[in-house]
Symmetry: C2
Subunit: 199 residues, 2 copies
């Protein structure tokens, strides 16, 4: 049948790159894309490319942005002496939705994971160190997730920051253990920021 043909297999493989999408869901999505009018699946394909080309990393904080530097980095009203370090752009979205944080961000784009061969050089850690060295930063709030890898990354960052005359804090464990920032409600996020402790 057509579902086993090479072009559909190729489409299924691409669809499975979406988070939480397995074989069955990919098949449902593929069937929908195959039955939509040609101009709509065409638009789908173009929209992916256009968005990917319009959005890039901010040269400073490495968050995703459509303007360079990003809206947070260019906002003079924000506290430019504090950086909140997160794993992913989704965490910035969550914190901004909470609205309680007024400092800057730094997106690592991952966490340390020796088992998968992800070391400090694979993350945006050197860029963070550069910012701390050159931009008059007074406090780093480490808001990596409360997973094993997130905790290890937090400890590693605290050690790297020890050479500078700054305060390094860890977001409080108001965020449920084992979960990601994305899934926390706004009150929990605000509490976690308030209750931060020196590392």
């Amino acid at each position: 049948m057509f579902m086993e043909s090479a072009p559909v297999e190729r489409l299924l493989e691409s669809l499975r790159r979406l988070p939480g999408v397995g074989r069955k869901t990919a098949e449902r999505y593929a069937l929908q894309l195959l039955t939509l009018p040609l101009e709509i699946s065409d638009e789908f394909s173009q929209a992916v490319l256009a968005a990917r080309k319009a959005i890039d990393w901010c040269p400073t904080c490495k968050n995703l942005t459509d303007i360079m530097p990003c809206a947070v980095c260019r906002d003079e009203k924000r506290d430019r002496t504090t950086i909140c370090v997160v794993e992913r752009p989704t965490a910035v979205l969550a914190l901004e939705k909470g609205g309680g944080y007024k400092g800057l961000y730094h997106v690592l784009h991952g966490v340390l994971n020796p088992l998968e061969g992800i070391g400090p050089e694979a993350l945006q850690i050197d860029a963070l160190v550069d910012r701390v060295r050159n931009q008059g930063i007074k406090e780093i709030i480490i808001a990596t997730n409360t997973t094993a890898e997130g905790e290890v990354t937090a400890l590693y960052l605290a050690r790297r920051m020890a050479e500078f005359d700054i305060t390094t804090t860890r977001i409080a464990h108001g965020v449920p253990m084992g979960g990601g920032l994305e899934y926390a409600d706004e009150v929990t996020l605000a509490r976690a920021l308030e209750g931060r402790l020196p590392l």
Copy 2:
């Protein structure tokens, strides 16, 4: 933030065309597509186009296919006097997986729905009537879903078939009421085919 920029909004709108994908899921998918390496999101975009171009409707049964006519229509070993009429290509996939059915198919690409302005001319009903008139068909098994619209479509088809000297049957209600063929297990599908009754 970048999630509200025009290119991302356009991407979110496209992603929401996938079945069961709302705003939240579309956002998760968009973030993944935006953070994947450029060549991989490029491949994603190309895979959608390539699959859409490689797969088209079979000129006879209107099922999706990568070869013309489709694998079922060209198979001389199948019973060429029986047509099973279904709403969507997914139903053909489900029935073929069951393996109990050896006749041909006809895909309507929808069901009658007067409230949404979907009349017989919007479906592949005339093509079915042509096949019955010209291809020596002896039996039509109507396997539209057991929803209100599916039942109405079945009754409409039965009336259209009355002018021909053929048997018109309805798939037995072994398929759970209100559900789609896609969600029935293989045994239920086989039972439903066996227990079909004249309409």
